[in-house]
Every structure is written in C-alpha cells, then in structure tokens.
C-alpha cells in the first residue's frame, strides 16, 4: 500500500465515519430536539443589576455606557467581557474551579452589566437604576417595600451538603443575620438550619458574600424560569 492509498483510505474512512456518526446520533438528537423543544437559551443569563427589565429587552436596550458600574458605591456591578470576564466568573470549588451555571460562553461577552455576589454583593442602594439613561434598568424607589416588590435579581439556593448547620458541624445563621429581608426570605429552624423562601428573596447576594464556607454553601441563581425571571416584563 503506497502512502497515497493510505491517505485516501484514511480520508474515506474518516468521512464515512463522520457521515455515519451524523446519521446514527445526529438524527437522534435532531428528532429529540424536534419532539421536545428546549427552553429559549436567552432565559439563561448572568445576574443582572436591580431593576433590569426582561433579558431580551435588556440586551436590546443596554447601551454599554457603564454608567451603572461607575455609580455603584461598592463596585459590585461587573461587565461581561470576552476574555477576562470568563475567567473571573468561575467560583472556587472543591475540585479546582466550579463554573457557575449562569456563566456565559466566551463569545457571548458583550460588556453588559452583571453581578458576582460571591465577590461583591449588591447593597440594594438602587443608585444604578437611577443613572441608567436608556431604561434598561427601571428606576426603583429606595424603600424597603418598593425593593421587595420589584427587585428580583435572582434566587438564593442553599447547598445542604456543605452548609454547616445542615451537616451538624456548627451553629451558624450568618445568612439570616445579613439578609435584608430576614425571617421572610431566609428562615432558620431550631438548629439554625437555613431555608430560602424564593417568593421573598430579592437576590442581592449578601448571604453569599457573608457565608463562612470557602466554597459558599449558598449561592444566588438567576431566575431561569419564566415565572420568576420576568419580574419586570414590559
């Protein structure tokens, strides 16, 4: 067998393998996709600042002026950048790094604002909603009731596998102490084991910032579900 023949046969084999793979598995995936359509990918997004309108409208209206980031007194608002942002988004986890479920792929960075509560939590001052020139962030009054009614950045979720009280390792209650809506958004039982009530959680992430566990037993997930996510649908 000459070298050319070898190359030819390799090429034929590879192309036949590709075609076969597509026929065997691609067709199945396609059929599955057609049978049960996946939820719209735009429903997944990073945590947006308070007052953000629905995600599609937000991406259309945000003019990337970064005024919200400059106005934020604690610089909690970061910007989805293509290279540095993707690296900054990963949260330290037990096995090296744990990618947060809302982290966007590298190509999707578009300088829109987002929050990383495990680094810096939102202090709910509503300054960013006042400076936004385009209405991507709707202005919200800085009162307890207005914020509770209209801010829904995300929903806190407790990882019971590493939470101290849930593992009977210690008495804690740090998340309950820091929560602006304590006893409503977060409650603890007689052993200080916390529970999140999503209907009251505004997603500020102060509980994530204060959590003493290094890998954060509590984390804020953006509202993926339509009934939670469209907090301020137009």
């Amino acid at each position: 067998m000459t070298r050319r023949e070898l190359l030819e046969s390799l090429k034929n084999g590879l192309s036949a393998g590709c075609v076969g793979f597509v026929i065997l598995f691609g067709g199945r995936a396609l059929r599955r996709r057609l049978a049960e359509p996946e939820p719209a990918p735009t429903a997944q997004h990073p945590l947006r600042p308070p007052g953000a309108i629905a995600e599609d409208a937000f991406r259309a209206k945000c003019t990337r002026c970064m005024l919200c980031g400059e106005a934020c007194p604690v610089h909690a608002i970061r910007f989805v950048t293509r290279i540095a942002g993707a690296q900054a988004d990963v949260q330290p986890g037990p096995l090296g790094f744990k990618r947060e479920p809302h982290v966007q792929p590298i190509w999707a960075g578009d300088d829109t604002p987002y929050l990383l509560p495990w680094k810096t939590a939102c202090i709910l001052c509503m300054e960013c909603t006042r400076v936004c020139p385009t209405g991507a962030l709707l202005p919200i009054e800085e009162t307890r009731e207005a914020i509770a009614a209209s801010v829904r950045m995300g929903v806190a979720q407790i990882d019971r596998k590493i939470c101290l009280p849930w593992n009977r390792r210690s008495w804690c209650g740090a998340c309950l102490t820091i929560c602006p809506y304590r006893e409503k958004a977060i409650t603890v039982d007689y052993q200080s084991r916390p529970t999140v009530h999503p209907e009251h959680c505004v997603g500020c992430g102060l509980c994530v910032e204060i959590c003493p566990i290094r890998y954060k037993a509590i984390s804020v997930l953006p509202p993926f579900y339509p009934d939670v996510g469209d907090t301020r649908a137009e």
Binding site: A60, C65, G69, E70, R82, I83, P133, G135
Partner: protein
Amino acid sequence: MSARSPKKKPRSAPSRFYRRLTRARRQRLPGRMRALQLVRRCVQASVLLALISIPVFSLYENLRNQRDDIGIEARFDTRLVDGLLRENPERRVLATKLRGSVWTLKAGDTVVSDPLAVVDFSAAARSGVDPFLLTALIPLLATLLLGRVFCGWLCPADLLFEVGSTLRRWAGIETNVTFSRWTKFCVLGLGALAGFYLGTQVFAEIYPPRVVSGELYLWITFGAGGAGAWLLLLIVSFEVFASRRFWCRYACPGGALYSLLGTFRVLRLKVRADRCTQCSKCVSACEFGLSPMSGKIGNECNNCGHCVRACGLDALTWRIGPRPKDGFDIIAAAERSAARETSAHGAKGTVEENHDTAGQ
C-alpha cells in the same frame, strides 16, 4: 532676522531650535492655524484625561467608602487622588458630577450621548420613540453644522491612531491599502440590520471610541480588560501596516453616520485659487487621503486642520457658508479681488455671497 537688535552680532552657529523657528517663519505658516492645532491637541488630551480620571474618581469614592477592601486597595493607591480631593468636599462632589464617557456622558442630570448610540439603540430595541433619543440632540446639531468634528477633535481612538501613524512614519512603511469609501456606509447599514435582527447592540462592540472608554474603565476598576483591547490592537496595526486612518476611512460606522449627517455642513474648507500652486502638500498631509486642493473633499473631512497647516502659502481656509451648488469649495481669483474691492468700500464678509452669485 530683522527682529533682532542690531547691537548683537548674529551667532555663528544658530541653535537647532532657532533654525526650526526661522524655517517655520520662512514657510509663512498661518499662525492662527498653528494655534488651532494646539487647541485641538489640548482638547484631545483633556478628553483622554477625563476618560482616565472619571473611573479613577469613581473608584476613589468607592475606596473612601470601604477602606478595608483589600482586593482593590492593592491595585490602587488612594494617596494619588487624596492630595487632589481630600479636605475638599466641593471638589469631591464635583468629581462625582461628571460620569460616563464619550459614548454616553452624564454631567449632573444632563445626559449627552453619541448619535451612533441612539441609532444602535433604536435598531436593537426596535423603537423609534424613546426619551433616550433626545440625548443625542447636541452632538447631532454640532455634526449637522460642523461635519465629522467628533472624529478629529473628541474621538479618543483618533489619538491612538495618530500614535500609529507616527510609528508608521518612523518605520518608513509606505503601503497604501484602499477600499471604496462606501464600505463604511455598508458597515453602518449592515450593523443596524444585524442589531435589529439579533436584538443586541452591535456598534457598541466595534466603535473604537466606546471600546477605548470601556477598556479604560475596566482596566482601572477591575485591573483586567476584555477583547476590546485586542480589537484596538488590530485596528492600530491596520493603521501602521495598511494605510493611514484605515478604520476611519473604510470601516467606522460612527464616521459613516457623521459623514451622512455632515453632508450639508456649514463650516467648509475653501481653496483660494489665486494662492494655490497645486503643490499637493495638503494631499499628502491629509490623514483621510482626501484632496483638499481640488476643493472637493465632500463630507469626509474631520476638521483636523493638517492640510491648512501644511499649506505654506495660506491657500486653504475655513469659511462658514452653504454647500456650493457645483460641489467645489473654491474661492476663485476674480471673486476674491471683487470681494477685496467691496471690502475696501466698507462692506465685509461678502466673499461667500459673491461666490454664490457667480455660481448662478
């Protein structure tokens, strides 16, 4: 020189600076135009300074509020700004008044934004009526009157490109890659279409002034930038290796928008036909590859004034007037002498009127 006093003997070997000065005098450079270049450089430098100082002041306020944030403290020493703002509450308040960048500026409660931002917004949000559109009113009026004045005077990327063209001159690179000028209008139209269909703002990603401002903000605040830095590097390498102002001439959507808006601009570059010797110094001086001596530079001119400065015979000037009907911004010799006669009789500023009547 005659200005020197006769008592002093002229030096046997005049200094380099003196020789340059006398050469400049011999060339009869219009002094006003040199002053204009100085003003332009000062404006550009102050824009760059503002783009750096706005995030620095913002970060400073943050650090004053929470001193023990070690992560940011390590990157930024507040003592740099302390000397400027500490014990000065008025200055600190003033420093927080100005926010934003050349893309969207917020001075107090007034928001001024780029016309391209408005185009981008209305394409992506698919809305023609929004209060945000009003924020572009002032730049829009300035562009209608002065043409692409933003590009030459305020664009922070233009400063970067001038660095690139200086590098190009030092390296002796002579390449001249040219495209049609309509390319950038295609970029504008296709970008607006893409924004409309994708529902996201496209120009904000590729418009160098916004990318420069955004990268400066990200580097100062978080110590890390995004892909915008690579984009800028690519564009500057175009500038160095392809042709001068490659991006501004052929790809910039903002430049395309300003060119469109400035078609009927009022500030116009005029050629005095009796002084021009067709030496084409202005053609080689023009960063945009235009030909000012032909009198037909169209709407591309960014008012940088390099051609006026390069002309040793003072044959190019700025005039305020309507767009000539034949499209040639030339002050003919006969008209000039007629204007001189009328001005000798006491009337002033009739050059343009005479030109118009001669055109009809």
